[in-house]
């Protein structure tokens, strides 16, 4: 079942090249197989090592990636994970993220092909996030951590190489965003005063999960002055209330709020639960209709929401989210008086998926994948 040699003998499944790192990278760039950064050449040996953490049939699709609807087999995903620089033990997270991205309500086709600058944000929760050293603290949404950088990059390369999201063909983004290189972090569960994201979304505390969000880059909320929860929440709501984001124009958007641990502590100390936070932001992240251009009022709001705006005056509030519970609230980051607002593509539902073994059992460590893989080969 899991024999890489029989796979690479298939026509078109492998290429033979000169053993020259620079030449290989030139070739990969020339063929449009990279994100512009150098890749690790996915040799048979490295791909097989990556697959040593995969307990499924290596050549059977786990999903189809839009817009090309290319079959995401473990071998193809592992190839992209090697190219991205992943260590083999990261691979179960790559697989879970791809499965989540390909669930219908996420609308991966829309995300991949749109002119909007969206890219998937992946948030990892649970013990596997800690085991893999996925950064949830200083600079968690930035650079500097191998697991954050390379797992996110492996997903992105898979979306391009398997899904066909080439610029100007499968990916029509007007200008894209830096998040199209990699966009992944763990939740800072240790410093959060609230239940973690995966627990809130129905998973056990000891489960490990990925949550995917069709997201813009973070928009910062600098608040060094507020010393009350309501003060910080007012600043977050104010940052969220903008005229040009996709969420304001869509029916059921699910924007995300990243709350820095220091802000979270202040907010929670004033008695706000996560549900209270969502309620406050839902009620206060609004703009008066007059802040939108006349053309947007006439050609969008009065067409799509005539009941709400049809006979209203120009100061009627326009909400950024339609229901409080549609907001995602997650605690990420290190020390500092910052939070962030993350608008979304709008027509996308966040998906949470547990990182599970092929038999459906909970994995408390990625090493269980290696044992299960080894068992399946013997």
């Amino acid at each position: 079942m899991n024999d890489i040699l029989s796979y690479i003998d298939k026509v078109g499944a492998s290429i033979e090249v000169e053993n020259d790192y620079v030449a290989i990278n030139d070739l990969y760039h020339h063929r449009g197989w990279t994100d512009g950064l150098p890749i690790i050449p996915p040799t048979e040996k490295l791909v097989e090592e990556m697959l040593s953490y995969c307990d499924r049939p290596w050549d059977s699709p786990i999903a189809k990636i839009a817009p090309r609807y290319g079959e995401a087999t473990p071998i193809r995903l592992a190839t992209n994970a090697v190219m991205a620089g992943c260590r083999p033990e990261y691979f179960p997270v790559v697989v879970a993220a791809i499965e989540a991205l390909c669930e219908e309500p996420f609308n991966l086709y829309g995300l991949q092909a749109t002119t909007h600058l969206v890219s998937p944000l992946i948030i990892v929760n649970g013990p596997i996030a800690k085991e893999l050293g996925i950064n949830s603290g200083y600079n968690a949404l930035g650079s500097g951590c191998r697991s954050n950088a390379t797992i996110g990059r492996a997903v992105r390369l898979s979306l391009v190489n398997i899904g066909g999201a080439q610029s100007g063909a499968g990916d029509m983004a007007t200008f894209g965003s830096p998040a199209k290189y990699s966009y992944l972090a763990a939740e800072n569960e240790a410093d959060s005063p609230w239940e973690p994201l995966h627990v809130e979304r129905g998973y056990a505390q000891w489960a490990s999960t990925v949550t995917v969000i069709g997201a813009e880059c973070p928009h910062n909320v600098n608040d060094h002055q507020s010393i009350t929860g309501v003060g910080i929440l007012k600043m977050i709501a104010g940052t969220m209330a903008t005229t040009g984001n996709n969420d304001v124009y869509n029916i059921e958007p699910h924007p995300a709020i990243v709350i820095g641990p220091e802000h979270a502590k202040t907010i929670a100390a004033d008695g706000f639960s996560k549900a209270d936070v969502k309620r406050y932001i839902f009620e206060n992240a609004v703009l008066p209709l007059q802040r939108f251009s006349q053309e947007n009022i006439e050609r969008r709001f009065l067409v799509t929401c005539k009941d709400r705006y049809g006979d209203a005056n120009s100061s009627v509030p326009v909400p950024m989210v339609q229901r409080a519970e549609d907001l995602l609230v997650v605690v990420i980051g290190g020390p500092g008086k910052h939070s962030a607002v993350i608008p979304t593509f709008g027509v996308t539902v966040p998906i949470t998926r547990e990182i599970q073994l092929a038999n459906g059992k909970r994995a408390s460590s990625v090493e269980e994948f290696k044992i299960a893989c080894s068992d399946s080969l013997n």
Binding site: P67, R68, Y69, A113, G164, G168, A169, G170, M172
Partner: protein, 72 residues
């Protein structure tokens, strides 16, 4: 649209010029590589009512011609 075409219904896709590569790729993916495309000037957003009517006038004769062809 590809599904309609595969069922034998006369089907054409209208798209603006920058989206032709995506449309052609999708037609291939969904098994209707010969799906006719009617290409209209870009953009579709941020244009006046008159320009919208102009796009329609550009598209309709081509659509009629293609439908006639498809029906043999």
């Amino acid at each position: 649209m590809c599904e309609l075409a595969k069922r034998g219904l006369s089907s054409v896709v209208i798209c603006s010029a920058p989206f032709v590569p995506l449309a052609k790729a999708q037609a291939r993916v969904f098994g209707a590589p010969d799906l006719p495309l009617v290409v209209i000037p870009h953009p579709l957003g941020g244009i006046s009512q008159e320009e919208i009517h102009g796009r329609a006038h550009h598209a309709v004769p081509q659509i009629m011609e293609l439908v006639k062809e498809l029906r043999g």
